[in-house]
Symmetry: C2
Subunit: 296 residues, 2 copies
């Protein structure tokens, strides 16, 4: 209910997602049921294809995430998390932490996003905003999340994990990276390939790029602006088109007890559909269980 | 003597710079004099147009910056800094700090670089790598450097200064930004316009973008990779061409007692020429004195 184009875009995305899901996979639409059904009718799509949970509250962009989740128990986000356990990305994260909760042993869940590679395939960036300040140990765990995500959801064997840094050599970087590098090198939990610089993010140097959530968020938004620019300049190029967030749909929160994907506020129907598909892939690959096993 | 294409590219750049300097502006070429003069002869250019200081040592990329500057007093970098007071960017910074020294009152000098704007003009990014870890007070001073640099070297009146952050609101960000924001807002030393996100760096939101040197370095190298990509993909576009570092030449170190510009290791003749021109503009605008006044 909370996106810029909600609930229309969300319902249209659900229709598109329905078409690619198998018969035993059921989407539950959480939100204003009357509005939702009228959008479905407008699009000649039977409401029988979905399950519904009616909600009456909406969390807006400007609201304080923690307060909003507590004070609006009947918002679509709050209700959704309750269902998942048995709207704004801040509220999504709070919801994930309070309802679904971190996996035992996980110090901090992280948000991940994908970056296109210049040649082919994609790179996975962790964290892109959940943890603005990190301890070195968090970055090691982000490496575990990213490696398992790459391996099980994107089928990349033995994923290469790099640390985003400002030099190639081990001793380079800020205090965080200087402390994280030896921990990542010695962790034995993933295939660590050393440092990656800003210029390496589109290269085939690594499959997973680990950084604190401040750096990751700045880079992700910076990269998105290139897509906007290439559109404005009418540059048609496969590589630039891959920056279209709609293709990926959303950003998974890794390290919590259930698959959670955060969507862009400006998500359109295609983005919603692709988010649902990504969720399905996370469920089918049993990613949550793989992460739980890694922290046992 | 230390660049990838030195000393050829440096000498060719000096020839190009000579052509745009006025008669009372003299370039001093510091390095192997025999090699330099033979390159000048090969290009039918009279050595009388330059002054020369012969040096016998070269600092390589892999050397430890502090040790190299001390142990190779007859390298072109060491000699150059000695001259400035009456190779590798690490050694440049060490040279600037030990020979030219920080301006009294300056907590940490910073390296700056320019970013093209999508519409027109350019943005100034401070710091892009001198200070991987920053205290909030450093960021306030970076705002002063950037504002004076924008005003006096690029003739931007009352430059708008923004803090690179991961949200628009004052309270957003990592601990560094949360502490720096109120200090920048209340400093009264520049026109503070609030937070800028990764997507705003090419926009006209601000003229100066302040961040810690880790974030700035990652972003700068990330942006440079877009230029490389646009070249590989044969995209001809004015905006992407502006990412060509050769156009800007180098990155000034601000907050030291003399104009210092760090060049890329891969600088070609055009980059060297543009570095000389930028140095001239810094000298003619009396930037160093303006910064000294701001810290009195």
């Amino acid at each position: 209910m909370g996106g810029d184009y909600a609930p229309e875009a969300t319902v249209l995305g659900a229709i598109e997602a329905y078409k690619v899901l198998s018969a035993d996979q059921k989407l539950v639409l959480i939100g204003d049921k009357d509005q939702t059904i009228s959008i479905l009718h407008e699009n000649n799509f039977s409401p029988d294809n979905f399950d519904f949970v009616h909600t009456t509250e909406v969390i807006g962009m400007g609201e304080h995430p923690t307060k909003a989740v507590v004070q609006k128990p009947n918002s679509s986000i709050s209700v959704g998390f309750k269902l998942l356990k048995e709207g704004s990305s801040g509220a999504m994260l709070v919801g994930a932490m309070f309802s679904v909760k971190a996996i035992p042993g996980v110090l901090r869940p992280a948000i991940t996003s994908v970056m296109p590679k210049l040649e082919e395939g994609l790179g996975i960036l962790v964290d892109v905003g959940a943890n603005a300040d990190c301890k070195p140990e968090y970055l090691v765990q982000f490496g575990v999340f990213g490696s398992l995500f790459a391996q099980y959801v994107y089928n990349i064997p033995n994923p290469r994990v790099a640390l985003v840094n400002i030099g190639e050599e081990e001793e380079k970087g800020n205090l965080l990276c200087q402390a994280a590098y030896p921990l990542m090198k010695e962790s034995g939990q993933f295939n660590f390939v050393g440092n990656a610089e800003g210029r390496d993010l589109f290269s085939d140097l690594a499959d997973v790029f680990v950084c604190d959530g401040f750096t990751g968020n700045v880079m992700l938004k910076f990269a998105e602006s290139f897509y906007v620019i290439s559109r404005k300049k009418k540059i048609k190029d496969d590589f630039f088109d891959k920056f279209n967030y709609e293709q990926y749909g959303g950003s998974p929160i890794l390290g919590v007890n259930a698959p959670v994907v955060v969507g862009h506020g400006i998500s359109n129907a295609e983005a919603i559909k692709n988010m649902v598909v990504l969720c399905r892939d996370m469920v089918e690959s049993d990613l949550t269980e793989k992460i739980k096993l890694a922290f046992q």
